[in-house]
Amino acid sequence: MPLDWGCVVRGRFPNVNIVARFEIERRQFLDEHGKALAPLPAFAEDAAALVALYRSMVLMRAYDAKAVALQRTGQLGTFAPLIGQEAVNAAIGSAMRPDDVLLMTYRENGAQWMRGVTLRELFLYWSGDERGSNFSGARGDFPICVTIAAQCTHAVGAAYAMKLRKQDRAVVCTLGDGATSKGDFYEGLNAAGVWQLPIVFVVSNNQWAISLPRAHQSACETLAQKAIAGGLPGLQVDGNDVIVLRQVLDEALAKARAGGGPTLIEALTYRLSDHTTADDATRYRSADEVAAAWKLDPVARLRAHLTERGAWDKAREEALLKDCNDTVQTAVRAYLDTPPPRPAQMFDHHYAVWPAVLAKQRAEALGEEI
């Protein structure tokens, strides 16, 4: 148990003053059955806009399932499934502008796809081919950050550049619950606060950092409150409610663009699958817990909501599933038809020009004369 040093005595003595207090709000629009808990924000009054988000989320799930299947059959390398986190992905993918910059982890393939990265490129990346990070779309987005939380410092640099050049752009930096324990997270957050940079940090708190549960990651009641230490606002949202996610992202991005500084959004969600295809989550969490998390499924929730509004039905669902499977299958074919990388790819982009003094090494590796 962490020691409680002060709450009891604070304010009781004449020489003790309370110099700061904080509150963390949690927002939600849809309950787990898709029922609206409050009047919806303007964008969500248009059912077509929500249908578009829903279609994206279903495509992500189809892509995710296919990627796992490809890995299981030896046609893809280790893959990190995003199932359960489609709402966060869809909200980010739809809220950002094309010229904004996304710095993401390995569980934001859905947002990447919405920003113009092709499914073929995503498959290429997971197959172990650098060409998968040479996106044809979202050319300014960073490559997937695998070392945890380092992207928080890169985000500061990218946002600083935007602010210096007085550009109407913003940065979205995603991370997981585990990343909030790292120094790079605090260093990035702190600097973003100092310079009031146009950054939205999105913590996808999926409750597990491989085998470490959220409760063992930090004694903080919320991860959102870690923002307070950096002098920026932090709030919690239901991370399986795409409507609230979109609303807070829209607000935070507008504020960032207007010079209002950074925001941290903690999205409460759940990692429904293993950490990666190399992991076995049954080693450290119960089937009951996972079954309970499935009841909060973001895809089913939005479908229920749209169905209740008369904007969705079984026929449309079947057509969508077929569409998504076709799209994914086409991408799989394009991926599998991609010729393997040339061995020279190993050397060609280490420097703008491979140094002459290292020419021998390259020639030796490639079996070329120099």
Binding site: R131, R139, H349, Y351, A352, L358
Partner: protein, 326 residues
């Protein structure tokens, strides 16, 4: 044209490039109002403004990571790590991100950043202020590592570093910051990277060194000359990628080589040069190659640092051993 110190040459190069290129920004701890603890960035804040001369929070990992983010967005950040002993945390950022940004995106994003840091012992500094991390940086793919040893080379190398399209680590020898002055023309001419510089031609032995040891090695060469030994002295200048051709060509003529480095011996940069000589220059050698280095100890605090660093006497003694071999 005035004679200036190495630290003033750094300042001159920074000012020159900031005036020439609006994308160049300087960031680090105390680089703005204070002008840097060694005064490398003196006067830049007043001239170029606080948006481009950035006093950062006290976080070295942030400084390096931020520079990466800026560089990928098209700026040309010059980050200062106040002392290299505080820079070990930045190795994570340089190794995992700066050095591979271009490669892992196949040229889509690049990282034209410079990271400057004072290095080496010899100024009676406190703990963690006398480190020699060059081999650690030189081991990292996708970056350049340069180590100037004179005001002129500092000016030219820093300009070259700022104009290079890839990450460059500029290691600066603190003991040479103000040791001597040299005339430096502020002509904006960058030095050539990836090239050793032969400081003195000789026929009897090749002395190879870099950074803070260059001055000591030249002193040793002077002492040897008085005894009739004509040593060739090579300043490596760019440690990564290493121009081995110049060293091999020299050793082919002299047949003997001593490598001088103040870093700990095991797996040091001197070992890299010795290994290359063994691989490609063995048949030209008349005697085993010797390394004169720091020891496999922590660099001692001020009272013993002079006993730790190679000095003229140790270099001369090693040269005599190599010359005596037959």
């Amino acid at each position: 044209m005035a004679a200036i110190t190495l630290i003033e040459a750094i300042n001159l190069a920074l000012a020159h490039e900031m005036a020439r290129d609006n994308d160049v920004v300087v960031l680090g701890e105390d680089v703005g109002v204070d002008g840097g603890v060694f005064r490398a960035t003196l006067g830049l804040l007043k001239r170029f403004g606080k948006e481009r001369v950035i006093d950062t929070p006290l976080a070295e990992g942030l400084i390096a990571g931020m520079a990466i983010g800026m560089a990928a967005e098209g700026l040309k950040p010059v980050a200062e790590i106040q002392f290299s002993g505080f820079g070990y945390t930045v190795i994570d950022q340089i190794l995992n991100h700066a050095g591979r940004m271009r490669h892992r995106t196949q040229g889509r994003l690049t990282c034209p950043m410079v990271l400057r840091t004072p290095c080496g012992a010899g100024i009676h500094a406190p703990e963690h202020h006398s480190e020699s991390p060059e081999a650690m940086f030189a081991h990292i793919p996708g970056i350049r590592v340069v180590y100037p040893s004179s005001p002129q080379r500092a000016y030219g190398l820093l300009l070259a570093a700022m104009r290079d399209p890839d990450p460059v680590i500029v290691l600066e020898p603190t003991r040479l910051y103000r040791l001597f002055k040299e005339e430096v023309a502020d002509n904006g001419v960058a030095a050539v990277l990836d090239q050793c510089v032969t400081l003195r031609e000789g026929t009897d032995i090749t002395l190879v060194t870099w950074g803070g040891m260059v001055h000591e090695t030249l002193a040793a060469a002077d002492a040897l000359a008085e005894e009739g030994v004509v040593a060739e002295v090579i300043d490596v200048v760019t440690l990564k990628p290493l121009d081995m051709e110049t060293i091999l060509a020299s050793v082919a003529r002299t047949g003997r080589c001593v490598i001088v480095s103040e870093a700990p011996r095991s797996c040091g940069f001197a070992s890299e040069i010795a290994a290359n000589l063994a691989e490609e220059g063995l048949l030209n050698l008349l005697a085993p190659v010797r390394r004169v280095t720091g020891y496999d100890t922590v660099v001692p605090l001020a009272k013993l640092e002079q006993r730790y660093m190679p000095d003229k006497a140790r270099i001369v003694a090693a040269v005599k051993q190599v010359l005596a071999f037959s």
